[in-house]
């Protein structure tokens, strides 16, 4: 309080100092890490939107196999001779092998085909994506969907009014992550 005069005399330096500092209340203080986490959350959301199967289990083979086992058990109850069992086991293994070769995961295949190593003039799945727009992205209120002007200090998502902000804090704010 003693040097109010100096504070008024150097107004340009103080805001710049403030900008670079992050509050110590955040779990992640490093700016780089925060950016990474933000990107990660964003990507997870896009992936969820692009998801083809809403009921898909993590392992694409898992529930099909479970079905088959169930079916086999039931078959065993009806005719249970040891010879048949051996035969059936072989068939079952064959089926399972077939499934593994026929059912693939697109992401795995994309990773394994190493399209990044292709020369630049060869068109591939990756080069065919349209390049990002030179225009800056527009911002919409994460609650009501109209144009927004304000940013949440905690989780940097957008809001347009106090009403939406209160809603955001109550339901959507991801500050616990940061």
């Amino acid at each position: 309080m003693t040097d109010t005069a100096t504070a008024t005399a150097t107004p340009i330096t103080t805001p710049s100092k403030r900008k670079s500092e992050l509050s110590k209340r955040f779990r992640i203080n490093n700016e780089e890490d925060r950016r990474m986490l933000k990107e990660k959350i964003q990507n997870a959301r896009i992936e969820a939107l692009e998801n083809d199967n809403e009921f898909q289990s993590i392992d694409p083979l898992a529930d099909d196999d479970a079905d088959d086992d169930y079916q086999d058990e039931e078959d065993d109850l009806v005719y249970s001779t040891p010879v048949n069992k051996r035969k059936r086991n072989r068939e079952r293994e064959k089926k399972r092998f077939e499934k593994k070769s026929l059912n693939i995961s697109f992401r795995d295949v994309l990773e394994k085909s190493y399209l990044e190593t292709y020369p630049e003039n060869v068109p591939t799945y990756l080069t065919a994506t349209s390049k990002p727009s030179p225009l800056p992205p527009r911002h919409f209120c994460s609650i009501c969907g109209y144009l927004s002007t304000y940013t949440c200090k905690q989780c940097s998502s957008k809001y347009c009014s106090i009403k939406c902000f209160n809603n955001h804090v109550e339901y959507r704010c991801k500050r616990s992550l940061y």
Binding site: A48, F55, D67, Y125, S130
Partner: protein, 486 residues
Amino acid sequence: MSSLSSSTNQANTTFNKVLVLDNGAYNIKASTSHQHLTNPSNPYVIIPNQVGKTKKDNKRNIIGSDLIDYPDPSELKTRTPLEKGYITNWTLEKEIWDNIFKRDELKIKPQEYGLLLTEPPFALEEVRKPMYEVVFEQYKFKSLYLATPASLGLIHMKSTNNQQIDQQQQQLSPSYTPPPYSQSFYQSPCHLVVDCGYSSTHVIPHFQNTKLNYAIKRINVGGKILTNYFKEIVSFRYWDMMHETRLMNTIKERICYISTDFIKDIVTSKESPSSYKVEYVLPDYNNLKDKAGYIRYDALKGGEIINHGNNIATNGDDKQDEKMTDSNDNDDNNNNDKDSKEKTVKQNSDQQEEENQLLTLVNERFTVPELLFNPSDIGINQGGLAEAIVQSVNLTNPNLHIPLYSNIVLMGGSSQFPGFKERLQIELRKLVQPEYEISIHQCQEPILAPLYGGIRFSQLADYHKFTVTKQEYDEHGYNLCNKRFY
């Protein structure tokens, strides 16, 4: 392709026995080409490319028309065999194909037929390997041809003119209808096809019906993302609809439109939401009659959709809006609408209306399809449709720029949003040099065009030159296939 009309005449005597499968991510469309040409009244099968299961009956798979007619869709757990438009789960896909082959409309044995299958561009080798295995070793199809749906659709659109040439003598008669697209469209060798499908949007330049691989551009926004985004918004703001993908898809098709002036619309819709508001009555699954719900009509206004009158003043797409609802509603739904209208007028009971679950939508109507033009709105780091078109054209030879811009073709289910063409015209005009003419043609059968084009293509006299036969596959393996279907 210039010999198209003459070659089909030749083919009339001996049909190529080919099964055409348009393997879309939402619906799968199938037809046998010779059946279609002999009996066009019952030409195709169209069923969802999904397999449903219920909690109660975990073993049985529900496929095809059973899936559409299932009494309680909220119980169903559906899975699709495709990922990003490419078939990855062949155990599911085979069940759906089996169902198609057995159906009354087709009833075919795969061993006796050739197969024409659609596939998005740039399929990876690992994705194709199991496909060859299933097609040749398990179903034992006679031959295989892989095509991009956009190229087939283009063949169909071009063929609409050829049919007219056959009927040149009838031109003088009063019943003569001119070809649906302009003459320059038929004459130009260059076409830029925009295929706005369910899993992604492709911009594919064509030169003389051959796609130019080096200039293809893709945006990862299709009907699927729009539906999922719509679902997410509605679930957060109004009702929980996270497990009602099919219902949300139909609501999206009926209600959403593309705004020609987005910023103006979103500002005015905040100030006066009434002119943009639509009330949608959600279906009640206890009442089996009505499964998709309907747009609520205001009884006081004499059965008009509430927003329509005002929408005319703000947007110019009222006509198309009507067209869209007309085309998408089945006759049954229209009847339902009428029934419900009569009910409300006759009984005049507010109680019944209160019982119905209402979904009130305002800005969702145009912010959802807006993603096609601005994927960055939800953080997808890709350019919008207009930018993708410009990027694609710039990759081609400079001599092709003018004909490509003047022959843009819109195709695929998501291109049916009202206002799509107008918006694209406006956006492109901002980006393209003023001396280039831009003209956009909207395909008249955006969903079925690839199927019809495939049928036409498979009846060419030299169709067998393009295919890989089972014998060739047995001898040379999949390397030959990859060479032929680049």
